[in-house]
Amino acid sequence: MTGSVGGPRWIERRVDLRWRDVDALGHVNHTIYLAYMSEVRDALGVAALGVHAREQFVLARIEVDYRAEVELDDEWVTARASLLRIGTTSMRTLEEVVRPDGVLAARAESVSVLTDRATSRPRPFTAEERAGLEVLLGPGAA
């Protein structure tokens, strides 16, 4: 889907696997997929809003479909994120974890809420922040 007309505009990060990512079944534990996705969602937030995004975005909801196992021998995965929708105080993103052999290991949609850390309350995007996010919207996004 990368680069296709009307497809998602991806922000990608390579994430190296760690020994500790693997559970007793010999594959990457399902919770770790979320850590991989956080890496690239963080990158997307920083690209749009700057480093303050790191301490202000809180994950409100995520739906994850697990498609394939990742094993230590894979050594690394590609995590990629695409902005789907910009709300008043939140954004919806698509995240994927892709193995080195190109197999999609997981796909997720998540909602991240911008919070005022002093009050832990959601706060609206400023006009400048919204403009930063709009740059990242894919051609097919809402």
Partner: protein, 147 residues
């Protein structure tokens, strides 16, 4: 999920919050909630079907609403899970993490697929397994446990 017979509310179990569960925001990281929820599903499946079947369960999908932050100062949380729907070779569960005051910090629905250990392929649930799972069907509007 309406129309289910009345079921007793199960109390869930306590889990310690570890220092290492926190991220730079001083709260439990979102990925760690999944470990908490998994502990609840593990209790549920082991109670209903035994430890062997738990090893054969694979998580196919999960939807999580993060409703409250868990500050790292919270010493423990309560987790619980119940069965929402029993499929041919899969089941859907509702899993929750609760703060010490009974507030729901996260609520999830998960789809577990039962695999044949030798082939790695999905296998149908047996009649006995289905009957065992039915005893753990969710109560509608389950109240918070007093722990």
């Amino acid at each position: 999920m309406s129309g289910r017979p009345e079921r007793p509310v199960r109390p869930g179990r306590r889990l310690q919050v570890r220092w290492n569960d926190a991220d730079a925001l001083g709260h439990v990281n979102n990925a760690v909630y999944l470990s908490y929820l998994e502990a609840a599903r593990g209790d549920l499946i082991r109670a209903a079907l035994g430890d062997g079947v738990w090893w054969d369960c694979v998580l196919a999908r999960i939807e999580i609403d993060f409703l409250r932050e868990i500050p790292i100062s919270v010493p423990e949380v309560t987790v619980r899970a119940s069965v929402l729907r029993i499929g041919t070779s899969s089941l859907r569960t509702r899993d929750e993490v609760l703060l010490p005051d009974g507030t729901v910090a996260a609520r999830a629905e998960a789809v577990l697929v039962v695999r044949n250990r030798d082939t790695g392929k999905a296998r149908p649930l047996t009649a006995d397994e289905r009957a065992a799972l039915e005893r753990y069907l969710a109560v509608e509007d389950e109240p918070s446990p007093s722990v």
